[in-house]
Symmetry: C3
Subunit: 159 residues, 3 copies
């Protein structure tokens, strides 16, 4: 097992199955020129832990703390997609950037606290050098299947 997968296991986490898209036109991640571009990973998908809030708007249907846990669960799905795409999580040499979109009730303005659920997990797993990343976390109007949040991102991959 790779070092990064050992870290994931040491945190008590198990990689979920990757998302099966309904159409053949797209895939969870594409590697080009040393950068892995991830699709938006939304919380409306299957295979989320039972206690995770998946749908609605933060500030109305879910609290900030609940949404933090949702972001952490989505980040774990992103890690599963990375493994599927590049084979070995140890090939990730840098978490480059995350773009977190939070389905926000009017007036909710603490998207950074929600997406920290993902940022904290990446930071824990890849450590202070490889895990330190750029980010934007914003409030989006609507998401597919009323997902509570969706995250995409870029990761540096070594050959």
């Amino acid at each position: 097992m790779s070092r990064i997968e050992e870290k994931v296991a040491a945190l008590g986490l198990t990689l979920p199955p990757t998302h099966a898209y309904p159409s053949p036109n797209r895939t969870p991640a594409v590697l080009s020129n040393g950068i892995l571009f991830l699709s938006g990973h939304g919380s409306g998908r299957h295979a989320m832990p039972e206690n995770v809030k998946q749908h609605g708007k933060v500030g109305a249907d879910a609290t900030e703390d609940e949404a933090y846990q949702t972001a952490r669960a989505v980040a774990l799905q992103m890690i599963a997609s990375i493994k599927q795409a590049v084979g070995d999580l140890d090939r990730v040499t840098r978490v480059i950037r995350l773009y977190g979109m939070v389905n926000s009730a009017p007036g909710f303005d603490r998207q950074f606290a929600v997406i920290d659920g993902a940022s904290d997990l990446f930071y824990e797993v890849w450590g202070p050098e490889r895990g330190l990343h750029a980010r934007a976390a914003v409030g989006i109007a609507e998401l597919p299947r009323r997902a509570l949040l969706e995250i995409m991102g870029e990761f540096e991959i070594r050959d």
Copy 2:
């Protein structure tokens, strides 16, 4: 004529003229390190086919099926921008990722079905290997000139 342009023609499609920006500060696409970064291509622009819905919110001013056709027309404009930027569409070795923003009426949550209009066209044109891409499709609050949707993306270009 290049192989990809032949495919576009075989689908009965003609590349539209590219967008003329009102300001000299920006351009439809920038190539850097083997990746072509496309500007957001919105449906509010000129040179759209007459029967395409250009403005308003999906779920109120346009149906999902109408918006699918709009996304297909916007994808064709993106292809025109790619050709202008790199000269030959055969230089595209991978559709990397699309970011589709759908001007969504409250509660509309099927952005994936709308942006499939673009994804399907790229997949048809570049085929199952080069055309398979990453994607996010989300609901945006407002778009310039009340455009129904806007799409940006990244494409891998060989020298």
Copy 3:
């Protein structure tokens, strides 16, 4: 002093201090494979000039002209982040792309005119070849700390 810093000074501008994130998990910019990926830079942060509108929605709490000035101030913060990340602004060989998110009142549809505040500054500073960039400018539902706007982007960096 570098040529680009001289240009900034000649415009009567001074680089502000960079943003201190509350969490160690993220940073203003990450360089990978020759591309500098910038975090979202929002107008809600500290160290903005006193006369700049920082909060609310364009079209309700700020005019288009006021928001243009806000975008210009945010672009200056981005330049400060670039300098911190790569040491010398002369290393920027191309402004690749900006993604501008404007906190928009319902019906406000001139996001392009707002984000021109940033595009114009980058164009003035880096000139017509290096400063010509791709861009999307859209209306976002909510932003952290009710920021009036937020901008992220990618910049090409030479070794």
